[in-house]
Amino acid sequence: MTSAETASLRPLTTALAALWSARGWRATAHALLGLPIGVVTFALTCGLPVGVGYSAGWSLLYAPSDDWVQTTVLVVLTVVVPLPVLLIVPRLTALQRRRFRALLGVEIPRSRRLFRGLRAAGMWRQIAYHVLALFIGAIGAASVAAFWLALPLGFVGWSTNDWPTSVAVALAVVLPAVLVAAPWVARGVARVDTAVARALLGPSRNEALSVRVESLSRSRADIVAATDAERRRIERDLHDGAQQRLVSLALNLGMARANLTDVPEPARQAIEAAHDEATQALTELREFVRGLHPAVLDDRGLDAALSGIAARAPLPVRLNVTVTSRCSPVVEAIAYFVVSEALTNIARHAGAHRAEVTVERTAGRLRVVITDDGRGGATLDSHGTGLRGLAQRAASVDGTFALHSPPGGPTAITVELPCES
């Protein structure tokens, strides 16, 4: 056989192989089992309460009895019979879910608001599925059975009846094709059933969204916390490593500079230059690390940590901090970063003479306001200002960022952060 012939036969072999495939048989079992289960679920969710409750109510309305016992019984039936449905529905849903898992390997996502009673939309959607299950089960089981049994039944019919040859030939062509189609029909039925079950037994769109929002908020909080932890780690590593070594280097060079007074002039100049470089590097590294995450922030809080950046700013800064109780470390770190970046910005771009930083804690929120008397006209997208970065940092903990900067100034940046995050 040539490869082209093999290729042309492939659909046929696939179709025949499907007859033996576990998937087709599982789908068939799923469809056939769907009918008896559908009968039970329909009876319990619809037949029993509607039948009994409705007829009792009917009797009450249209055949009122003088016998108070009978009336009481009817009232009780009308009201009480539908109630167990609330308890039965979750169990029926679990049963159906098990049918999907065991036979199709399909996991129907759980709806989480199962036990909130009749008001929960999920409950009504589940009842709808249990009612529909009867019809899906009936149609599904009937068609799957018909496709599987068509050939054997046709054979029995042909052997017991005296059918004309033309009919027999037609059946001999059509019925095997029907048999081959059977597993595919079973799988189609399973697919429809799965889609309906997913829509009605699984979480609603709202619910799915709220689950997603929850998981997104959690993962975002994790990222924010991880970033924060990373900054602390870098600060600590630099403090214990590079900074100590640089101090030691600068110290040794300082001693050399002080003591080696009788060396040749070029050597003395080289030592002086190296000493100056080392102290300069030390200052720069300190400024950088201070901006990362100062240890005093963990130790004594935001109020104490802000003194450092306010004092380092190249313009006069007034600090007004009224924070009576501390916020979470992540929020404190973000507030610190906001003030630090904002003051750097003001020094670089605003052309201001003075700035003022106000931090206050009110009702679970930390409010940070940074104002300057500069030229104003700043926007979130102003090139190189990093204002967008500030807005993003605030948003990362569900905080808000507002920039008020009319041309000519003054500029005010207001950041509000939820204290616990």
Partner: protein
């Protein structure tokens, strides 16, 4: 002059020991943490303890806390605290009990050997040495208006006073005459409603008291 050094970095501990020995100090002990520092101070009763702020086990403010204990238990021992960063809050703590024989400097300052040794001697002799950065932070923290009344030059002089400099030191730093410095100082004291004082130490004390209120 007898000194105990507490510094967790081996490299720096050795460097400081050598620096102090070369500078004419007697280093009686050099230890890596606060616990051993307190033991060494109790044992040797040195003139001065040179203390790093961040030390094991928590690497936060061990040095400051140890310094406060020393101030309390051994008031005759002067303390000079060194740190990669200076914080006004720690300075306020250090100065809260008494303001003589105390210093708080950035670690960078050790590289300027003669200035650093001067500061050590000043503190050991009962004076003060506050890092200019700390003084700047203390000035920022001050929320009332009197500081606004000072001219930039007077503010500069105030800073130098708070660092613990004498009149001569200020004359050198600003390159002005003695009488000018005296005039600045009397102006500052008048503007800040501080009583005139005679010694450097009492002057610093007065300034710091004002800054902290």
């Amino acid at each position: 002059m007898r000194v105990v050094i507490a510094e967790d970095s081996v490299l720096l501990r050795a460097g400081l020991t050598k620096l102090l020995a070369d500078g004419g100090f007697e280093v009686v002990d050099a230890v890596p943490d606060a616990e051993q520092l307190l033991r060494a101070v109790g044992e040797h009763h040195p003139d001065l303890a040179l203390i790093d702020v961040r030390m094991p086990p928590t690497h936060t403010d061990e040095g400051i806390r140890a310094a406060l204990v020393i101030r309390h238990q051994y008031p005759k021992v002067a303390v000079l605290v060194l740190s990669q960063y200076v914080e006004e809050r720690y300075a306020t703590d250090l100065l809260s009990t008494q303001t003589n024989g105390v210093g708080y400097l950035l670690k960078d300052r050790v590289a300027h050997v003669s200035d650093f040794l001067d500061a050590l001697r000043r503190v050991a002799a009962g004076g003060t040495a506050l890092d200019p950065e700390v003084v700047a932070q203390l000035l920022v923290r001050h929320r009332d208006d009197p500081l606004d009344r000072l001219t930039p030059r007077e503010l500069e002089v105030l800073r130098l006073m708070a660092e613990g400099r004498s009149n001569n030191g200020i004359v050198d730093a600003l390159n002005v005459s003695h009488s000018a410095v005296e005039k600045y100082i009397s102006n500052i004291l008048a503007k800040l409603d501080l009583p005139p004082a005679h010694t450097d130490h009492r002057r610093v004390l007065a300034v710091l008291k004002f800054l902290r209120t």
